[in-house]
Point group: C2
Chain length 314, copies 2
């Protein structure tokens, strides 16, 4: 039931049709925001994402179009008397920038902000987890400290076939629990019951990868491995590859190559340069490399695992 909701798909220079960078991930019990460009709190009002449900905000880097909305969002949460803590993950220095703003000191807010500042190093590190999910981060290649994020859900355990277990002789309620946990049971009569004999197949958890702003790099592929949705910047069309390289960005084709190499299932393109008002050609370029490419549409809801949900709803 996890949904991805693009909130802003523009890049640094604003255009009328798009917001600054933000994408929401919505689970039944909470929402996560990736980046928080200026105006995010205003655009969220037009989405189904309630401010009160936002449990964490993960910032990629300290360029204004990716975090200038964070201060106002936290201020509003306080005005609305939020009392549950929120986690903010982002590059070192973010905490200081936020807390210098009037009204955002810890003692001024109605809730706790738990900052998790990332130091630029190498490789992927765990940065956040919750019930049934976790998020890791890797440094990208943007010229300033910048992190891509990978959200992974635990596999959903299959259903216990109670009838079959009884037939095999299982009676003790605790044994049913141990089978559900994947353990093997030795019954008193010497029968060995393996979990796989009574448990239905597990459903792989969903994977969402958020990769922006960056030149194509190995970390992007690593973050996107087997992702259900790779949400990747495509600031420029292929013909501006030189400009992408010079400014630390990716083209449509770069993004598609990352998706292909990583074995991602679906590619959502975002962070479009202000020069593009139509997406047809951008999407065509990406599809020539990775067919399941689309331009992310603001305020649309993308199911992270559409197949899994179809099964559930049957």
């Amino acid at each position: 039931m996890t949904e991805i909701i693009p909130i802003g798909t523009g890049s640094a220079v604003p255009v009328k049709e798009r917001g600054f960078s933000c994408v929401a991930l919505r689970r039944p019990e909470l929402a996560l925001l990736f980046d928080c460009g200026e105006g995010t709190q205003l655009r969220l009002l037009h989405s189904d994402v309630k401010l009160s449900r936002v449990g964490a905000i993960l910032i990629t880097h300290l360029h204004g179009d990716h975090f200038f909305g964070l201060m106002g969002l936290l201020a509003t949460m306080s005005l609305l008397h939020r009392d549950t803590p929120i986690t903010v993950v982002g590059p070192a220095g973010l905490r200081d920038l936020v807390q210098r703003m009037p009204g955002l000191l810890p003692e001024e807010l109605t809730f706790e902000v738990d900052f998790n500042e990332l130091e630029h190093g190498h490789g992927r590190i765990m940065v956040l987890d919750g019930k049934g999910w976790r998020i890791s981060a890797s440094p990208l290649d943007h010229g300033v400290p910048c992190y891509g994020y990978r959200y992974e859900e635990e596999d959903l355990v299959g259903t216990l076939d109670v009838e079959r277990a009884r037939q095999l002789g299982v009676r003790n309620p605790r044994d049913f629990g141990r089978l559900k946990a994947g353990e093997t049971i030795d019954l008193e009569d010497g029968t060995v019951v393996e979990a796989s004999a009574v448990m239905g197949p597990s459903t792989p958890g969903g994977v969402f990868s958020y990769v922006t702003d960056t030149r194509p790099c190995p970390a992007a592929v690593d973050l996107a491995l087997d992702a259900d949705i790779l949400y990747h910047e495509a600031t420029f069309a292929d013909e501006l590859a030189d400009r992408a390289e010079a400014t630390g960005h990716s083209t449509t084709v770069d993004a598609a190559r990352i998706a292909l190499e990583a074995g991602a299932k679906r590619l959502l393109l975002s962070h479009f340069s202000a020069r593009y008002r139509r997406f047809d050609e951008l999407v065509s370029e990406a599809r020539s490399v990775f067919p399941n490419s689309e331009a992310a549409v603001e305020l649309s809801r993308y199911q992270l695992q559409p197949e899994a949900e179809t099964i559930e709803s049957n």
Copy 2:
């Protein structure tokens, strides 16, 4: 030809229908912004106010809903390669908050930001002027340092009646110039020609007063004296007068009383609490005290002096 264009009429808690505080004043040669709440640069894209024409930004106080849009707006101006200086007027401390943000140090911007920081004192002081206009500021009563602004245009000099001047004997081209400047001319034959004899009536310059956030106070009346448009906060309805007093705000009736006492011509109400989704009753309350009251409508264009412009267009 001066126009007032409300950009955001909400207060601190955002609602779907309104933006955070900002109002633009547009002259033929430049635009001025009063306050710059989050999202101002995005909302300006939906107005006729071009970012490149904004010559100055005047901030009332350092609550986020009045200035969190300033950082992004300056960053965007730099991305667009602005090369003309801009003036930012606001409470002491504003400069430091802005310049700590990544990308906003003087050496990082493509243009100069001339900060004019106000120290909280008493009385009205001049803070900015341009060709044919000037702006003064007075401390208001909001609990934190907060300034109201008064924009005043010079009177428009009338037209010289050249025929009449010739009949009176004026010949020297320099004498025509002196008459236009209001001087008295002594001709060689002893004739004295006063400017008033040959100059048409002058047109009074327009006055725009921006008063937010504040309890009703003498400074508000002083700022609004004879204003063509008084743009005044009305955060609360009259029944919440206690809450307005407690939070340093005005009610509809407070705003109307200021307009009445100041002899303003027109009152535009703004800074509405998120609790109000309709304005009918708020406006009715104000009109019961000051009939020419309206709720400011975002992105509408209000002529500062509609009568003067009618004359001009004849």
